[in-house]
Symmetry: C2
Subunit: 360 residues, 2 copies
């Protein structure tokens, strides 16, 4: 068995020890005589897995006591509707900050549920830079301000926390949750599809301040009503049990590595190796403003698009996969989430140098 370096933007590479443990426990979890997949979600075995996973997330992220953690379904694209359905009712309007494809998608979907305003946009820079806080036109009457903390396609990331005054800040953190310490108290709501840094697809994490519950529009399906799910401890409907179990194994692994600070340092090192190389060559190009560069998704372009296929083929031959850029922007993209080892990034840079020597 040879494992590849998988640069997929999500679902994405997972820590090998997590997969080993999952394989070992597949037919018989801790002597229960069952796979986790087979457990009643209301049985004591799964209830303990559920509670442990929730507690670990609270511990690692330092989630304050006045926040609820929900395990839901539908991913961030589902949340694009579920967030306004649950929150916009407080005042009927919301502010959105556009920083790339994902925040634009969130904004478009939210329009169905209330008055939605663009408070700021990175469009002038073609989304290669975040709009500076002083340019934001925030509405103090908004029910919330929505950002995407890391744009998976564009490769920009917030390295600062916006100040939205008394208006709750809502962040789609799908692609950078758990990648660094954050101050949860500065957010009203955080949501994330699990399939980048947490576990398999099919699980959505929602972290919501309790006082924001209770404003759901009447059309909100019960299964996607935060208050209903908070009161049912995420068991109003059957939760995605196996995905929660894998998430729990990933969280244990992250804790063992030293928690958020250690993980952030590792991610910074990996990103620096790649960006330092990109800045030192004219053969490859990353157009993102240095202060806004993502440490999770690094898009780059070869000086000649005609070389793309050869680049990808050579990478594949060297055991490096999923480097093709998103179809909407072309080029390449290296997604280097928590579970991408530093060896993977080093191997990529070494190959990029080699390819440049051959084709430069």
């Amino acid at each position: 068995m040879t494992r590849v370096f998988n640069f997929s933007p999500g679902p994405a590479t997972l820590p090998e020890p997590v997969l080993r443990q999952a394989a070992e426990e597949m037919l018989d979890w801790h002597g229960s005589g069952m796979s986790v997949m087979e457990m009643s979600h209301r049985g004591k075995e799964f209830m303990s897995i559920h509670a442990e996973t929730e507690d670990l997330l609270k511990e690692l992220m330092g989630i304050p006591a006045n926040y609820k953690v929900l395990f839901m379904q539908g991913g961030a694209i589902g949340e694009n509707a579920i967030v306004p359905m649950n929150l916009i009712g407080a005042t009927g309007k919301a502010d959105y900050v556009l920083t790339g494809d994902w925040s634009k998608k969130s904004y478009k979907e939210a329009k169905t549920y209330g008055q939605v305003n663009v408070a700021a946009t990175g469009e002038a820079s073609k989304f290669t830079a975040l709009p500076k806080q002083q340019e934001w036109k925030l509405d103090p009457g908004a029910a919330y301000v929505h950002i995407c903390s890391n744009e998976t396609i564009g490769g920009v990331q917030f390295h600062w926390t916006p100040d939205t005054g008394r208006v709750p800040l809502v962040a789609d953190m799908s692609s950078d949750i758990l990648s660094r310490p954050i101050d949860v108290a500065k957010y009203g709501l955080i949501y994330a599809g699990a399939q980048k840094n947490i576990g398999p697809s099919g699980l959505t994490i929602v972290i919501v301040r309790e006082d924001l519950l209770g404003h759901a529009l009447p059309v909100t399906p019960s299964a996607f009503n935060y208050k209903v799910q908070a009161e049912a401890d995420s068991m109003y409907n059957t939760p995605p049990t196996y995905a929660i179990y894998i998430a729990g194994l990933v969280l244990k692994h992250v804790k063992k590595l030293g928690g958020m600070k250690a993980v952030a340092q590792h991610n910074e090192e990996k990103a620096a190796i790649l960006y330092d190389f990109l800045d030192a060559t004219a053969f490859y190009r990353n157009p993102i403003a240095k202060e806004d560069r993502s440490r999770m998704n690094v898009p780059f372009w070869l000086k000649d698009d005609a070389l793309n296929d050869a680049f990808l083929k050579g990478a594949q031959e060297r055991g490096m996969i999923q480097l093709k850029g998103h179809r909407s922007v072309g080029g390449m993209r290296a997604s280097i989430y928590n579970a991408m080892p530093i060896e993977g990034v080093k191997a990529l840079v070494q190959y990029m140098k080699e390819f440049e020597r051959q084709h430069g």
Copy 2:
């Protein structure tokens, strides 16, 4: 390792060969160097798994060409809202047939999205029998007629297909999909949470006739819009990839067993063993009308509720778990889905006899 006989109503027991294969392939699927969990949903590896799973479901269930198969999220409770959101717009009204807790829940949720009528109810029998077709008061102007083909809590099951004329029949088949041959052409839409007969929780199967697409209410979230998902081949948002993979392994296993007819025969045998015993003793009781008894979920009551704890304890000691009845009705319940071996049912009956001898 000793595997238990797991009578959980869902998530439920899975075929052991499926779990073995999943364990073996966990770190490296077919030489890809990746777990299925780590695969990009748009990569060729997962696309092949996705297509194969869809094709197998179509083959096993005999799904006609004018139906779409969607892999979605949110379970049947999510679908309680998603179905009316997508279908009721055609005429603004829908008929619901109430046969127990699950169909009542579907009916209540649907009220938010249009005019919803009770076309028939089993309430007079306290839901121990299905309302006879001749008693149904169907509205020819309804957008659809909704039934629950098997009530997981109550233990009644349709052993006939209702005739709803030109009005599309919609069925929640969560707890009996894939348990027997059905004529899909008689249904407009079939939906099912995967966690009983198909795979892990977190995956919802929707089988919908193409001409029913396109009536979604404006408030329908894009991720839960059948037309949007049908056009995107269930990839408008990231699907629950690992759950789809396990479903595919289960479907292959079902095909190897001989398909729907063989599975139905096996399920009939298992149910007969249990019901024949229940009918031959006064110590245990199942109150359901014989012609409407579920072959998937068999609720039963001991003659004295004070013996319940002892019964469950003895079962647990013999490796039989999750026999406690639903908290709303008490008593016991044996869920004997496809993957419950006949040996499990025989062991249960043997224990029931033994317990009766001791306490009868």
